[in-house]
């Protein structure tokens, strides 16, 4: 009976943690370029968002402590520590398995603004924090200049 109560409490705890953390965002870096609002132009906003999932091994360790019994969690802890030896180096957010998602973003801007009259570029490097899994995000915001005469 006590086992069932323990398991139920664990599930409730995990669920509430997940719900609390699921909307957490973390800003790593932001940069803004020059803003040109001169002339007879409309500023048409655009946004490009690319992301990749990453795995946080420290989070995995603490989750295994909650979900497993002490013997199994100790084994999981050792395996995860061993994995961390293969992931050494400076880190910003959680490690990802591919960096292709940030490749040639200038082409995506070009698609959004074929006239090439782009201004107010803001690059944001941020992360969405979920338990164990993290969303590593790069967001580009900017404006495409469009002449008011063009609209007519």
């Amino acid at each position: 009976m006590s086992k069932i109560i323990n398991k139920t409490l664990k599930i409730i705890f995990l669920y509430s943690t997940l719900m609390c953390l699921s909307s957490c965002a973390y800003l790593h870096h932001v940069q803004v370029g020059e803003i040109d609002s001169t002339g007879d132009n409309d500023l048409i906003p655009f946004e490009i968002k690319v992301s990749e999932f990453g795995i946080d091994l420290n989070d995995a360790k603490s989750t295994s402590k909650i979900l497993m019994n002490s013997k199994n969690s100790k084994q999981a802890d050792e395996i995860l520590t061993m994995l961390q030896y293969f992931q050494m180096g400076p880190k910003t957010g959680a490690p990802v398995f591919s960096v292709a998602y940030v490749n040639h973003l200038e082409n995506k801007i070009r698609e959004n603004c074929p006239s090439g009259r782009v201004t107010g570029i803001m690059s944001i490097r941020e992360a969405r924090q979920y338990p164990v899994i993290k969303g590593e995000i790069v967001k580009i915001k900017g404006y495409c200049l469009r002449s008011k005469k063009e609209k007519i």
């Binding site: 030896y85 880190k91 910003t92 591919s98 006239s115 570029i121 690059s123 490097r125 790069v138």
Partner: protein
Amino acid sequence: MNRMWVLKVILLFGIFMSLASCTHSVHIVNFSDFRPYREAKTAVSIEAKSEQFVVLGFTDNTSYVNEAYQRLMQKCIDGQISGISTQYYTSLGFFSWTNHIVMQGLCHKVN
């Protein structure tokens, strides 16, 4: 029972190897301005890369950023480069890592 144990080991080894495989950490993705304004279809995408291998914090190549910068300039001689994105990321490894600089931009040939 024995067969199950072997399958379990294979599965665990597979998970371990996939997690231990090359992982990366993206630090910064910056963008320059798109000046002078030019029609996007006239531009050509260019790219320059450079890297620095580090073992336990020790390295001999400290000019890798400048190398990428020079390479980018060489890719668009007699032209203008705009919309330059600079990516700085690290490929993580076993007691060592590689820092990468990737510069990508649009080359507009003047003539």
